[in-house]
């Protein structure tokens, strides 16, 4: 039970990461690759957040005078995730714009069929 408690969050996060990487490597459809990328980013963000958690922690906000600093979770990963989410969003939107262009140019989203450039 204890092991489960210790690692369940990491397992979830890395599960998402693996699903994302696998999707990106195996799928041929560009949209599916983008979905894989999105899952991968979500997994990484979850991992970062779970790194900073402490048991029975509270949000690091001194909203009432009585709140103590002792139980607060680590604020740094939360700040990092805020940045990482925005960066992920930026990459995602760029990828989607390329999907639009790809479809206009080639009439397909299948990456296997797009062979303009050879080795």
């Amino acid at each position: 039970m204890n092991i489960l408690y210790d690692y369940i969050y990491y397992a979830g996060a890395f599960g998402l990461i693996f699903i994302g990487i696998f999707t990106m490597m195996v799928k041929r459809n560009y949209i599916k690759v983008i979905i894989g990328l999105s899952i991968l980013e979500t997994g990484v963000n979850l991992f970062l957040i779970s790194v900073g958690y402490i048991s029975n922690g509270t949000a690091p906000i001194f909203s009432n005078p009585g709140i103590e600093a002792k139980n607060m979770v680590d604020p740094v990963p939360q700040a990092l995730v805020l940045t990482a989410i925005v960066i992920g969003l930026a990459v995602l939107s760029l990828a989607l714009s390329m999907a639009i262009r790809l479809y206009k140019h080639f009439g397909t989203l299948d990456l296997q069929q797009i062979k303009e450039q050879r080795w």
Binding site: F62, P75, S97
Partner: protein, 228 residues
């Protein structure tokens, strides 16, 4: 074939991560840096929300980069989609009365809520990015509900995104010029803790970010809706 390679690769990665995770069990204690932020952040930055003080003060340079990344993505999107000339006419059906009227009714309150979120970034969980996203969602609602009736004002969005970014950089440069001569220094008085006018430059930067993010996300939505 690719699947096999993928699975083998993933198993290797998983094994590596398992060995690595043993040294960082879940939910134990904070590190030195984080303890410093939590214990001294209140006094050093004047923000009740420690995450905000990390985002806008201790690690403000990251946030400047982050704002730039978002700017970059809006610009890149424009550049990638710029050369499309052919635009087929689509016969879109107008959204039903429920949707269009509801959107119009909700638009001002959503904007107000976004403004509330980014103005109170230093007091409550929230901030410029979240508030900006909410404002962009108001525009998204308008696009979905009243498609074709309302367009984002190009000039207006350009102004708010440029001025938002410039305000951030200029506040940083002012910090370099006055006080202790550090870039992005919190040079303004910290004020009374846990009130609206506290935490020095944090609310100002967050308002700038809120405008910028709202304008940029709306622009991204605008471009994607227009071209798709």
């Amino acid at each position: 074939m690719r699947k096999c390679i993928g699975i083998i690769l993933l198993i290797i990665i998983a094994w590596g991560i398992l060995t690595s995770l043993q040294t960082m069990p879940f939910g134990v204690s904070r590190a030195k840096v984080a303890n410093h932020y939590i214990n001294n952040g209140k006094d050093e930055t004047g923000a009740a929300n420690i995450v905000t003080s990390v985002v806008i003060n201790y690690r403000a340079f990251d946030t400047l980069g982050e704002v730039t990344v978002l700017f970059l993505s809006a610009i890149g999107l424009g550049a990638v989609l710029a050369t499309i000339k052919t635009r087929e006419k689509r016969d879109t059906e107008k959204a039903s009365l429920i949707l269009s009227t509801g959107c119009r009714f909700l638009f001002p309150p959503i904007i107000l809520f976004g403004a509330y979120i980014f103005i109170h970034g230093h007091l409550t969980p929230g901030g410029g990015f979240q508030g900006g996203a909410i404002i962009a969602s108001a525009f998204l609602l308008m696009y979905l509900g009243c498609h074709g009736e309302k367009r984002l004002n190009d000039r207006c969005s350009t102004f708010s995104e440029s001025l938002g970014g410039l305000a951030f950089v200029i506040i940083g440069l002012i910090g370099l010029a006055v006080g202790t001569h550090y870039f992005l220094n919190n040079f303004m008085p910290l004020g009374k803790f846990n009130t609206l006018l506290s935490a020095g430059v944090i609310p100002i930067i967050y308002i700038a970010i809120g405008f910028k993010v709202g304008a940029e996300l709306s622009k991204i939505i605008d471009l994607l809706m227009e071209e798709s």
